[in-house]
């Protein structure tokens, strides 16, 4: 994937790299994907007939902290990109690891939260809140997991010399995806947790 486009057509009509344009399209498509799940959540928000309800379960301070962790991972992602653009592969590796660590921390928080909710009696089947909450945040968690895998792969490739100074585009693409997943979380945190 890394070289196919550049050799056949060194310059593109729009000036945007093919891969970057494709990534933007993919993220546009993802907007509709999460938008649909969020719409389903909002539609069913007040339709649970039995508890436990959202207000009984949410631990806003805890989720605020894990949201903060995910936001900080965007910062370290930017630093990783800036490092490879400067040609500083060592710093890039550090920031990539840092980003994936923060991502995993967020995922750990989500696993903890899911377990907690489950212990208090919320399953996919309990009520509409359980159904929509677990599926929406679960799909977001799956996206974060894929993001962590991508970041770790970039890290692995760079330790084996397969990600070089000229390959900043690869980190940039991963970064676009990562920031998008963060933004989706901000929306989910606002609409699902804070607005009640």
């Amino acid at each position: 994937m890394a070289h196919a486009a550049t050799i056949a057509h060194p310059e593109t009509n729009t000036g945007l790299d093919n891969r970057k344009l494709a990534m933007w399209l993919f993220l546009g498509s993802e907007c509709l994907f999460f938008g649909s799940f969020i719409a389903a959540y909002l539609l069913y928000r007040d339709r649970s007939t039995t508890g436990p309800y959202a207000k009984d379960l949410y631990d806003i301070p805890f989720t605020s902290v894990s949201s903060f962790v995910l936001l900080m991972s965007s910062l370290s992602m930017v630093l990783a990109l800036s490092a490879i653009q400067r040609g500083d592969l060592r710093a890039m590796r550090v920031w990539l690891l840092c980003t994936s660590f923060l991502g995993m921390l967020f995922l750990g928080g989500q696993v903890f939260e899911f377990t907690q909710f489950y212990r208090e009696g919320l399953t996919l089947h309990t009520n509409m809140f359980g159904t929509t909450f677990f599926v929406l945040t679960g799909f977001h968690g799956a996206h974060v997991t894929v993001g962590v895998l991508i970041l770790m792969s970039l890290f692995g490739m760079s330790t084996q010399g397969k990600l070089k100074e000229g390959d900043a585009i690869a980190v940039e693409l991963a970064g676009l995806y990562w920031h998008f997943v963060d933004i989706v979380w901000i929306i989910i945190f606002t609409l699902v947790y804070l607005v009640q």
């Binding site: 196919a4 486009a5 056949a8 729009t14 389903a40 996919l124 599926v135």
Partner: protein
Amino acid sequence: MATAIPRQRRVTMADALRQVREDAGSYKGIWSWIATVDHKRIGVMYGLTSFFFFLVGGLEALLIRLQLARPEQDFLSADQYNRIFTMHGTTMVFLVVMPMSAAFFNLLLPLMIGARDVAFPRLNAFSFWVFFLGGIFLNISFFTGGNFLKGDLGAPDGGWFGYAPLTLNRFSSGHGIDYWMIGLNVLGIASLAGGFNFVVTILNMRAPGMTLFRMPVFVWMTLVTSLLIVFAMPVIAVALFEVSFDRLFDANFFNVAKGGTPLLWQHMFWLFGHPEVYILILPAMGIVSEVLPTFARKPLFGYPFVVFSGVAIGFMSWGVWAHHMYTTGLGSVANSAFGITTIMIAVPTGVKIFNWMATLWGGSISFKTPLYFSVGFIAMFTIGGLTGVTHSIVPSDYQQQDTYYIVAHFHQVLFGGAIFGLFAGVYYWFPKFTGRMMHEGLGKLHFWLMLIGFNLTFQPMMILGLMGMPRRIQSYPKDYGWDLWNMMATVGAFTIAASLIVFMYNVVKSLRSGEIAGDDPWDGRTLEWTIPSPPPPYNFAEIPQVHSLDDFWHRKYTEDANGMPVLREAAVVEHAAPAEHGDGHGIHMPSPSYFPLIAALGFPFIGFGLIYQMALVPVGLLLIIVGLYGWVLEPATEDLTA
């Protein structure tokens, strides 16, 4: 390049694998197709696969028509009937018209914009393999979804629209619906991969001088269609995931007892479903917009209007979905609003129809088979479009809801429109990709048989619908006055089948002994006619420089004082197209690759895993990951001429 395995040595596994890889690189043999990343070969594979599914879906249609030929028949049981009409609709939409359009995108897009391939050749191969495996997965449900040995068909039985909660476990036991949901999601991945690829190709890979408004209309329609795919597919994906969670993991999205609502499915399905209608028809509109000017020997009338109408349809298609849902009780405000948008979307469609007619007007028309199919398209699609506008009148639609009038309407658009348009494309571009002309007489016989059969099938359904015959019923009583019309429709369906036999015979005959086509058999206008037929792997020996809309036409012709075309002198023509017949030496093309296929193979594993045995899911994920890693890490390009 290919080296034979030495006789005296025993053939080891490694030798065999090497041989397979070299075959793949050699542009010959079966492995070269399996590993191909060439857009033309992928296009051919898309075309053949979708035509195979066309025959499957057509067979299902014949079974439906046999059952309905007379009243009170028991040729098919109600259960079998449900499964067959579900698979007929699903197959024709997702396995025939969409991938057949994708076949044309693949074959033509790079040629028309003067590129050597699409932006992501391996993603393109991945898209095809995912579609191929997804289609097989969906159809295998006939045998594995129920107890086939006891004579039960296992295919899905929820209709192509899959209305929840009818698709939940309570109302549809067995695995048919599971196959349907997972299969459609897999096919969605294929469409999305293609969508991203085509948009990037069009926006980024155009030859020098090929500005957006010098692009052929077909390319414009591909762009609009691909963008619709990019934004509509995730919506249906979410709806399918929701039903999947309800069925497989006991969630409540459509469980009314827990507070779920069936309306959510309908909104999401039709929010996808109406853009989908235009995903199906816009490619055919693009094809017709290429065929008509060639055979009228005139430029397309009002090129910018046709383009902007297509774009407008793309936008407006997002605002009409609830005209599928008037009777669900949305209220008079919503119904009126969607009625008005439904009237409005007819305007850009009408603009196109008038532009096509004006293209023919005053042209020196050459009556060849592609033109027949294009004119057939305009006439049949106009009837389909007009019956569509009647759905904007809410009280009238209340009466038509779920009757054969609706069935007649959408077949008028999708068969009379899309399929006629696609056949126009087959006849038009067959010489380009095979090097041989199709037989004209047989082509016209195919056209007339299909046109007659089509009208005999679907016009009686209009009448049946207005008489009140509901759709989706396995049988109907005598004495309703429906017998004659149903028998006519059945005869019509078999006439269509006969026309397809003529078509297949024509293809085989023309491949063997058709007249040699040459580079430019139709006196074409667009760049694909400047290169040899069939095109070399690298398409253009030298990337063309484009100076105007219909560039090739202007290289061949100039105008006299009355605006009539005058052939340029041969020397000038030769000079205008100097480099298209080079030997392609030193052009770097993408290497063949197995990794797209390996990644695609993961999806059936995940599908079967979700249905039967969760342990298969990690296997599928592993295949996808292995495929993607191999894909990222292998070198992408080789020197074809080495």
